[in-house]
């Protein structure tokens, strides 16, 4: 066992932190959020130049990292910067599915993801799926030499700026079966694809996607028909390592702002940090953040373990980051008082992201139940 970062990852961490400190002021970020894409293509290109997208892919896939700890180191820093560029949608979610299922020809696109020149989005969740990864009601049926896809996809991250979509659709079985889910890679402007983009509460961009008789060639199919679920689950696992780690970064910012406020804000003639009521609440926040960090480390470190161990660590990390993220966000606001309620002060933007992360790829309840299921099977 070893709880220190390798030299390479320590350098990656420093580099991201420095870039964000120099180039990613909160005011500028909040302006960027208002743009059509909801992120800056110029900054995205610079992230690509720095090799940060490539850090999320293995050497076999043309990157130079791709392990759980590469994901966690990068996303913790992205969290501290409240970064809105599409690392999760394009590189982690879509990139993972493509890397696992794609043919050599299809995987050529990974080079463009890493270069930042093409953007992908994973259109998987549906209006009624409520985080359930196996829920796919969208259908794909044989149509001549290709497939015809019908259905709707919900809250697809960065779908409105994607060049390509990876769309999951059922080619056999019932709506909740793991078996029978297929993945298709198609240009986002394919006829019959209607994308309605919108901003989210935490400054990201997502979209509702309607698929109306979308005809794709057989070459759009990723991997075997009906066999996409394991790759989707693995992509979600990697994304949850990213989200749990991003949450730790966000918690650190909330923690530091609150500690600083407790030290400097005076009421009744003394710093408010002198009051036991606040000291004890802050101590709970500090203690719980270390739990969230440990759970994120466990998830990153167990990404290559067999399914049950991996998924238990993933659900544990996501459930803890959901519970603790809410605690940190709410307590940071409460201990600050009125100032935290303002747009300008900044804390609120971190708090919003921290709360909304619980709504991505499974919340506390979803992952607690999921952990219980795996744990019972393991016993």
């Amino acid at each position: 066992m070893d709880f220190n970062h390798t030299e390479d990852r320590a350098m990656l961490k420093d580099m991201v932190a420095r870039f964000i400190a120099d180039n990613y002021a909160l005011e500028a970020r909040n302006e960027t959020v208002k743009s059509a894409d909801g992120f800056s293509r110029e900054i995205w290109a610079r992230f690509a130049e720095l090799g940060l997208i490539g850090a999320l892919f293995s050497e076999d896939d043309g990157g130079f990292g791709g392990t759980g700890f590469d994901i966690s180191v990068l996303f913790e820093e992205l969290g501290k910067g409240l970064v809105v560029e599409p690392f999760l949608a394009s590189a982690v979610l879509s990139g993972s599915v493509l890397a696992q299922l794609g043919s050599a020809e299809q995987k050529a696109l990974i080079g463009e993801i890493i270069a930042g020149s093409k953007l992908l989005a994973l259109a998987h969740g549906e209006p009624d799926s409520h985080y359930d990864l196996a829920h796919v009601g969208t259908s794909a049926v044989r149509d001549g030499d290709g497939w015809s896809i019908n259905g709707s996809k919900a809250v697809v991250f960065n779908g409105d700026s994607a060049d390509y979509l990876i769309v999951t659709a059922r080619t056999s079985g019932d709506t909740w079966d793991e078996d029978g889910i297929s993945a298709f890679l198609l240009p986002a402007d394919t006829e019959g694809v209607a994308i309605r983009g919108y901003p989210t509460m935490d400054g990201l961009h997502a979209s509702e996607i309607a698929l109306d008789t979308v005809q794709v060639p057989d070459s759009a199919l990723l991997g075997e028909a009906g066999q996409a679920y394991p790759a989707i689950e693995m992509a979600a696992a990697r994304a949850n390592v990213a989200l749990a780690s991003e949450a730790v970064g966000l918690m650190e910012v909330c923690r530091d702002m609150t500690l600083d406020y407790l030290r400097t804000r005076k009421q009744f003639g003394v710093p408010i940090g002198k009051f036991q009521a606040l000291q004890h609440r802050m101590a709970t926040v500090l203690t719980e953040i270390e739990q969230a960090r440990s759970a994120a480390i466990n998830a990153a470190g167990r990404l290559d373990q067999p399914r049950a161990q991996r998924e238990m660590a993933i659900s544990s990390a996501k459930a803890l980051s959901g519970r603790i993220g809410r605690l940190v966000a709410e307590e940071a606001i409460q201990m600050h008082g009125g100032i935290a309620m303002t747009w300008e002060y900044g804390l609120g933007h971190f708090a919003k992201r921290l709360i909304m992360i619980d709504h991505q790829l499974g919340d506390v309840d979803y992952h607690t139940a999921r952990f219980a299921e795996f744990s019972r099977q393991a016993a």
């Binding site: 066992m1 070893d2 709880f3 220190n4 970062h5 390798t6 990852r9 700890f69 500690l259 407790l262 030290r263 710093p271 940090g273 002198k274 036991q276 606040l278 000291q279 004890h280 802050m282 101590a283 709970t284 500090l286 203690t287 270390e290 739990q291 969230a292 960090r293 440990s294 759970a295 480390i297 466990n298 990153a300 470190g301 167990r302 660590a313 659900s315 544990s316 459930a319 803890l320 309840d365 607690t368 139940a369 952990f371 219980a372 299921e373 744990s375 019972r376 016993a379």
Partner: protein, 398 residues
């Protein structure tokens, strides 16, 4: 970062397993697993077995007869010992006094006392709390007044765990009333056979005799039994409280309790199905398991960290809070898993040699007693509220 054990660590784990396999008497592990009370002889017996292997002082450096194990090795040893049903070692000499003597004791004290801790000659207990000095420990009043080559000690200590078995007690005493309360405290070692020392049992709410009151009436203690300098005892006391971090989160024991709770959850039935399939119970169990898994990593992060000394204060306080909260949550859910069978309480059923038919499931007898007994853990060792104050003050730098 790497969460996997190295080959060396796996080899060490096998070594520990085979030692426990051959040396831990079944009579002892059966008692531990069944939640029976351990006698003084049980504990002394286990200390002697560990000492013969050189593994009693797992947290001591080699030069004093310890193992010199690193953090991961100590955690492996603890996990395996708990899983095998080994008794916990008695911490007062090994983990509380010994580090203080190593850092602040005289050569004579180290040479005299440390070997006697290992070979079982001395059983130490702790004289910190007083009736008027609990969380505000520095307000302690027990006086030690210099008289020639002796201190004359008068006053009272309380909550003295296993003091009924001890022959020695380390005490914080007041040697000065000048300046701040912390500045007049000294750390002395007292032979409990000295005339004037009286031990009286305190029976806890669940009926056990675990702690005591110790009265000191003109007890004469040689000045050579002063540790370090007079009036510097507070520094040593704080060192003692923050030094021993290996076991503060009780990871190994918590893992065993979790497994036991899962076993109970599979055995207990609700509408003909195992309780563990009840969604509400399953969710409560999952919450504890997830917290424990994270805490095990927090614990190893602290212990393995090169700057662990700098982090010791807040991080060890965090682990104390989290470890005790998880333990109490386990005790609580275990109690609830039993349903009405949490209620029967036949005290004798917890003694070895009780041969009557159990009331209800055979695992039910100790559960509620352990639940009530472990209400102490968020109170002792600096209550969790005291720990919270420490954490925030250190992190704010106030």
């Amino acid at each position: 970062m790497d969460l996997n054990y190295t080959d060396e660590e796996l080899t060490f784990r096998d070594e520990v397993r085979s030692f426990l396999d051959s040396e831990l008497p079944a009579s002892l592990s059966n008692k531990v697993k069944a939640g029976k009370r351990l006698t003084k002889e049980d504990m002394e017996n286990w200390h002697a077995i560990l000492n013969r292997r050189g593994w009693l002082a797992e947290s001591w450096p080699v030069e004093y007869g310890g193992t010199g194990w690193n953090a991961v090795e100590r955690q492996i040893f603890e996990d395996e010992s708990c899983a095998a049903g080994a008794p916990r070692t008695v911490p007062f000499g090994l983990k509380m006094l010994a580090p203080v003597l190593m850092k602040y004791g005289s050569e004579e004290q180290k040479n005299h006392y440390l070997p006697r801790i290992l070979d079982g000659t001395d059983w130490w207990c702790q004289g910190y709390s007083e009736p008027g000095a609990g969380s505000d420990l520095a307000s302690l009043k027990m006086r030690a007044v210099r008289d020639g080559d002796h201190y004359v000690v008068n006053g009272q200590k309380t909550w003295t765990t296993l003091g009924q078995h001890a022959n020695m007690i380390f005490c914080l005493v007041r040697t000065s009333t000048d300046g701040k309360p912390q500045e007049g405290i000294s750390f002395i070692l007292v032979d409990m056979d000295t005339p004037g020392v009286t031990v009286r049992p305190i029976i806890l709410l669940e009926g056990t005799h675990e702690v005591n009151e110790v009265f000191f009436d003109d007890v004469r203690v040689p000045v050579t039994n002063l540790v370090g300098e007079e009036n510097k005892g507070w520094t040593y006391a704080k060192y003692l409280l923050t030094h021993e971090r290996t076991n503060i989160a009780n990871v190994g024991a918590n893992k065993v309790s979790l497994d036991h709770l899962k076993y109970i959850g599979r055995t207990q039935k609700k509408r003909g199905r195992p309780l563990i399939e009840d969604p509400l119970f399953a969710a409560r169990l999952a919450q504890i398991e997830m917290e424990l898994d994270a805490m095990a990593t927090t614990n190893l992060r602290l212990l393995s960290s090169p700057d662990s000394v700098a982090n010791a204060g807040p991080m060890s306080s965090m682990l104390k809070i989290k470890g005790t909260e998880i333990r109490q949550a386990l005790n609580d859910l275990t109690r609830r898993a039993l349903g009405p069978y949490a209620m029967p309480f036949v005290s004798e059923a917890l003694d070895a040699g009780f041969n009557e038919e159990p009331i209800g499931p055979d695992y039910a007898a100790p559960v509620s007693q352990e639940y009530f007994n472990n209400r102490k853990i968020t109170i002792y060792g600096g209550s969790n509220e005291i720990q919270r104050g420490i954490i925030t003050k250190m992190m704010m730098g106030l």
